[in-house]
Assembly symmetry: C2
Homo-oligomer: 335 residues x 2
């Protein structure tokens, strides 16, 4: 069995409290004792039990992440994770992954009350419809949390803290890029009916068309559900039109790269026949052929900031700390 503070106390003939104080830098321990305790602790290989400490202090060095099972399917989420781990590592915290769906409905309450994490970061819950439910519980339990990845505006809740990208300006810059190249028939592949990122990007697409005096064509908007081949399927629909688009703006890079594949296989050229712009700048946007023009979203930075904001939330007072990150158009050879 590993030595506890009691073993150390016995070994030195000192009280448990003196040991604890010596180890935690209290003033009322003589320098000699302090030194002796530290040395003996090292010799015996003593390390305090973080579980016991947490119980006593109601504190901990962990940050929870609530995320759906499929998080690791998406390069975007992986980008967030990159930032989350970096920030956590830098600040001395560890990440605990709580993968939804939870077994029981109140497993989350359990976690909240057990003081095992300092707060929660919510990732990708909106797709599975878990977001609202989760937020209600977290607010009731008064556990700080941050929503990472998209804007969120809910009725019946306090003001929420979220970390999102500036979808509007991102799409506008992408559209301006395409418009400047003379494109007038620009298709959009992505969900139009959803909320959050989907909605904001689609809205901005329409706004850009409007601004340019181009009338919106419903047949140039194709829905792309969340699965691996939705880009190709959408592109097939677009290529079957009478009046073909000359450019495609996709909701994300994954869809864009997938759609581009379909175009290449049909022996069409990119960007001469169809130009492409994605969204996100995931690593493979650059690895794809041709390299994909895209709107860069600072995924890693957003993850890092999420951790920072969460930790600030743990120290009241905390005004709303939502942050929207600027995006940047990265022009590659697909457009």
């Amino acid at each position: 069995m590993r030595p506890t503070i009691k073993d150390l106390s016995k070994a030195l003939g000192l009280s448990v409290s003196t040991i604890s104080k010596a180890l935690n830098g209290y003033e009322d321990v003589s320098p000699e004792t302090k030194e002796l305790v530290i040395k003996t602790a090292k010799d015996l290989g003593y390390h305090p039990s973080s579980i016991a400490r947490n119980l006593r202090l109601k504190a901990n060095d962990k940050i929870g992440i609530i995320h759906p099972l499929k998080s690791f399917e998406s390069e975007v989420f992986v980008g967030f994770f990159r930032g989350l781990t970096m920030a956590a590592q830098k600040l001395g915290y560890n990440l605990v992954l709580y993968t939804t769906p939870f077994k029981q409905a109140d497993a989350l309450r359990n976690i909240c009350r057990s003081h095992e994490v300092r707060g929660m970061i919510l990732l990708g819950l909106s797709l599975s419809g878990m977001l609202e439910e989760t937020i209600v519980i977290l607010e009731e339990e008064q556990l700080p949390f941050v929503v990472l990845g998209h804007p969120v505006k809910l009725a019946n809740t306090q003001e929420l803290n979220f970390i999102a990208s500036d979808n509007r300006s991102g799409v506008l810059s992408a559209m301006q890029h395409l418009l400047a190249q003379g494109h007038r028939k620009i298709a959009y592949i992505g969900r139009a009916q959803d909320r959050e990122n989907n909605y904001e990007r689609f809205l901005a697409y329409q706004e850009a068309l409007n601004e340019a005096g181009i009338s919106f064509r419903l047949d140039l908007v194709v829905d792309a559900p969340y699965h691996a081949y939705s880009g190709r399927e959408a592109m097939k629909k677009l290529l079957s039109l009478e009046d073909l688009p000359t450019a495609v703006l996709a909701f994300n890079d994954h869809i864009a790269v997938d759609a581009a594949q379909e175009v290449l296989e049909k022996q069409l050229r990119i960007p001469q026949d169809v130009a492409f712009v994605g969204f996100g700048d995931i690593p493979y946007a650059r690895m794809s052929f041709p390299p994909m023009t895209t709107v860069k979203v600072p995924l890693r930075e957003m993850g890092e900031v999420a951790v920072g904001v969460l930790l600030e939330l743990t120290l009241p007072p905390h005004p709303n700390m939502s942050k929207t990150f600027p995006t940047q158009l990265i022009i590659r050879s697909s457009s």
Copy 2:
């Protein structure tokens, strides 16, 4: 403040121990009392503190993962994470991410002794040279662990448990595929000097050449260090040779796709001028252009099995449980 078991005890006029027993299905509590306690617990929103339980029971529902900061850069690791989260979720465990490098050298000892995880899964530590050091500590602390992703054979340690892919048969099948197409000048891009996966794959490459009666050409082997563009750089070297290779076997898909890009930009055709085979079958092997022929490694399954093996290790006795997973050649249009 959240209700504790004491609050419940006061509210019901029953002793703390009765509450605890009622909630934990003991036999010496009357059915009526049991029902009442459960109902009241629900009404008051009582949930036991997992921290306190863990302290008392010296148990927990967490599995630790020690991994380098750059894990999320690699699709291979992300594939492992996919399996890890799936298995953990299914079995009711949560994952705790310990991102190396640790602050202090003995932070790991700390974790081991605090009983905060049931065991550790080691991911990608060999690259940073942390593997041996970590293993020594884990063995000293007697915390069960599993190495995921590559074979490992260390001196001075007990027999280790690892989860790896069958590199040899994977490379042999890839080489047979290329040889069957008549390729004789097959290049290899990857690290030849390293241990583990690198070494095994390179060895199998040589073995296949040997078997086919083709003499090994040193100029057809190009080192590819671990960074984003190493595939392109290696390919540049290969394309500057007098006697060009007609096929390329890459250490992994990332390198293969990157190298293929270079070929395409030089206006060469794939697979007519140069055929490609990767290793791993990460998602973008299929998304790349042209879709990449590759050796599929069951990343997700390996992650799942790692969790299973680790949990078995926590219940003695445990013989060596290393597992090597079969691979599968997936032929796409790059070859």
